[in-house]
């Protein structure tokens, strides 16, 4: 599955991408919300977006809202370095919000499967 990874920290983005690759997915990287919207417009095969929350200019939540406003209904997983409860309350429509830590390798596959199941159902 082609997944767009949005993170302003290139290393953090690569890290997420590496985990996704390990799961057999094909990650695509964007460094900010603007680039993400461009990639979404240009590439039709993207099936999911995984974005960092805290980015300069456009935050992960802004990106999510912009996507929905433009009618892009792809599953959206938000990553954050803080307590994920905050963004969850701020934007209840998010498919999932995850804490960025070293357990990402284990937690991400589960969440992706869960989100996909919900979207397909």
């Amino acid at each position: 599955m082609r997944i767009l990874v949005v993170d302003d920290d290139a290393l953090a983005g690569e890290m997420t991408a590496a985990v996704l690759e390990g799961l057999g997915h094909e990650p695509l990287l964007a460094e900010n919300g603007v680039e993400a919207m461009e990639k979404l417009a240009a590439e039709t095969a993207i099936e999911m977006v995984i974005s960092d929350l805290n980015m300069p200019l456009v935050s992960g939540i802004d990106l999510f809202r912009e996507m929905r406003a433009q009618g892009i209904n792809l599953p959206f997983i938000l990553l954050t370095g803080d307590d994920p409860e905050g963004p969850r309350q701020q934007e209840p429509k998010l498919d999932a919000c995850l804490l960025k830590d070293f357990s990402l390798e284990e937690s991400l596959p589960e969440i992706i499967a869960e989100v996909l199941a919900r979207h397909d159902g």
Binding site: D8, D9, L11, A12, E14, M15, T16, A18, V19, E21, G22, G24, D52, N54, P56, T80, G81, L99, K100, D101, F102, L104, E105
Partner: protein
């Protein structure tokens, strides 16, 4: 789809390494923002840059599993957030706090660079899997319980893994509260404790002070810390720390310290040999030392010194300088001629006050020179100090540096001691010699680091599966020896058969390749074979037979 998990792990390892590599540069940029913001708290751009930096390090640091660094950055992020919100409100203390956060981060970065950011399993390093179904040969093996409290989970796991190889049962905690609760439930034989935790800069020391003062829980503790400064060490000592290791910690050093700290029985009394031609003086000195809890033996005739040294195995010799038949100098020289006693401390006792003559005594390798008459408490202090140092040195010298097992010399010595005990108690004893099969091929095919992994794995199997009373040594390159106290030839053969089977099930992974190793073993027993040399030769012959019969088998010398 075409990426294997191992290549992903490799990639993550590379990303971690890159991240750590970039940290010092990024931190120095942050320092510039800090200085700019401090000079002008209304410099929004500097404050925002600093905040973004701290936030990013927190997130990415945690993503890579660097919790200490993440925690320090989180604290800084919180402070920088305040600065962004309300630049007018900041006080001089604020800058001190923020500065400390950056300093803590610098320390964490230093540790990460020392420790190496790569996770423990690289692609080329051999790892091994132990078969889970292989139970202990002896159920009674009761490993000493060690609590490891360290919030950097990767480091803790690495340490725990190593300690387990050396026969310690390591239980890991990543925060002080869990540790506290566990101690109240079951007290460990010793603890290994980090100092700095997210819950406080000296949370590690504080929890121990609390356990001691409020719950009467006292156990030996070794502190490990990324901090090398005096204050951190001082706090550790005040909390009752027995030892302090700056990170990165070498597992071998830690094991030697733990061995000393967790000796189950009371430490054996120091053994002192008193050599003096005047019986009254010898008795007098020996009495003083025995009153201080030491074991002594007295020799009046220097001719007997060598025999007694061999039998009594003293930690130290207290020798009179002037004796009729041969002088103390000569007696010391005699002792030193025997390789086993080269390191034995000899302290001269004499009324000689001429420093020139004292100096000449030192040239034959005397540890010290005491002048008669000596105050009893001075004698005790001088002797205890040197005997203690000798013991520590011996513990370090007694072990093989790769496997942590007893080395050749020590193993030989232990065999002799065990034989003496068996003879005295009319008991039995078995001795097994082990040699890895086709070990050279392993080194040639996979390289020496992999060969070392095989040696470590065998050492681990032997230690884990044997009884506490059994002694395991590395006899030479790929040769190991086991002393099975109080075991008949039949019983010993049976035990070694189990071990042989267990070890042959260990799977070694190098890159994509997998292989297994086997060993051959020869067993001999007392009283069947008489002295140490005898029993060793017999075991060696049996080992030779095992090799010639096709390897991977245990042969008993009948």
């Amino acid at each position: 789809m075409n990426d294997r998990p191992s290549s992903v792990r490799n990639k993550i390892a590379q990303l971690r390494a890159t991240f750590v590599e970039q940290l010092p540069g990024r931190l120095s940029d942050a320092r510039c923002h800090f200085d700019a913001a401090k000079a002008n708290p209304n410099d929004r751009e500097a404050a925002a840059s600093l905040h973004r930096f701290l936030h990013s390090i927190k997130g990415t640091g945690n993503s890579f599993g660097f919790k200490d660094l993440g925690a320090a950055a989180a604290q800084g992020e919180h402070l920088a957030g305040k600065l962004l919100e309300n630049p007018v409100s900041v006080t001089p203390e604020f800058w001190l706090d923020l500065n400390e956060c950056l300093s803590n981060m610098a320390l964490c970065i230093e540790v990460l660079q020392d420790f190496g950011a790569a996770p423990s399993q690289g692609d080329r390093t051999a790892t091994f899997e132990m078969p889970l179904d292989a139970g202990a040969v002896q159920e009674e093996s009761n490993d000493k319980l060690i609590y490891v409290c360290e919030d950097e989970s990767l480091q803790a796991e690495h340490l725990g893994e190593q300690l387990r190889c050396f026969g310690y049962q390591a239980v890991l905690f990543n925060n002080t509260e869990d540790f506290r609760r566990a101690v109240l439930e079951e007290q460990p034989a010793a603890a290994i404790m980090d100092i700095m935790f997210p819950e406080g800069d000296s949370a590690g020391a504080n929890v121990l002070i609390d356990l001691r003062n409020n719950h009467g829980k006292l156990f030996p503790t070794v502190f490990i810390s990324g901090r090398r400064d005096f204050n951190a060490r001082l706090r550790a000592i005040r909390a009752g720390g027995e030892a302090y290791f700056p990170k990165p910690v070498k597992a071998m050093d830690l094991v030697v310290t733990l061995d000393l700290l967790t000796r189950q029985s009371e430490p054996e009394p120091f053994r002192v040999l008193v050599v003096d031609d005047e019986p009254e003086i010898a008795q007098y000195h020996s009495l003083i030392l025995e009153n201080a809890g030491m074991a002594t033996q007295v020799v009046h005739d220097p001719e007997c010194v060598l025999d007694v040294v061999g039998e009594f195995r003293p930690d130290l010799v207290l020798m009179d300088m002037y004796m009729p038949k041969c002088s103390g100098r000569e007696a010391a020289k005699l002792i030193r001629q025997i390789p086993d006693f080269v390191g034995l401390p000899i302290v001269f006792l004499s009324s000689e006050t001429d420093t020139k003559k004292q100096f000449s005594a030192m040239t034959v390798g005397a540890e010290g020179f005491l002048t008669k008459p000596i105050q009893p408490e001075d004698l005790v202090t001088e002797v205890a100090l040197r005997a203690e140092r000798m013991r520590t040195l011996r513990a370090l010298m007694a072990r093989d540096s790769l496997t942590g097992l007893f080395n050749h010399t020590t193993t030989t010595q232990l065999l002799e001691n065990s034989l003496t005990a068996a003879r005295r108690q009319d008991g039995q004893l078995s001795f097994a010699m082990i040699d890895l099969d086709r070990f050279k091929a392993v080194n040639d095919t996979y390289g020496h680091p992999t060969g070392d992994q095989v040696l470590l794995a065998l050492a681990r199997v032997l230690q884990q599966r044997l009884r506490n009373s059994d002694l395991v040594g590395r006899y030479g390159g790929e040769e190991f020896a086991v002393i099975l106290n109080d075991a008949s030839l039949e019983k010993a053969k049976q035990i070694m058969e189990h071990l042989r089977e267990d070890f042959s099930k260990v799977v070694f992974n190098v890159g994509d390749a997998k292989f297994s190793c086997t060993f051959s073993c020869g067993v001999a027993s007392f009283p069947h074979a008489g002295d140490a040399e005898n029993i060793r030769e017999a075991a060696d012959k049996a080992l030779y037979q095992a090799k010639h019969a096709g390897r991977n088998r245990v042969v008993a010398y009948e």
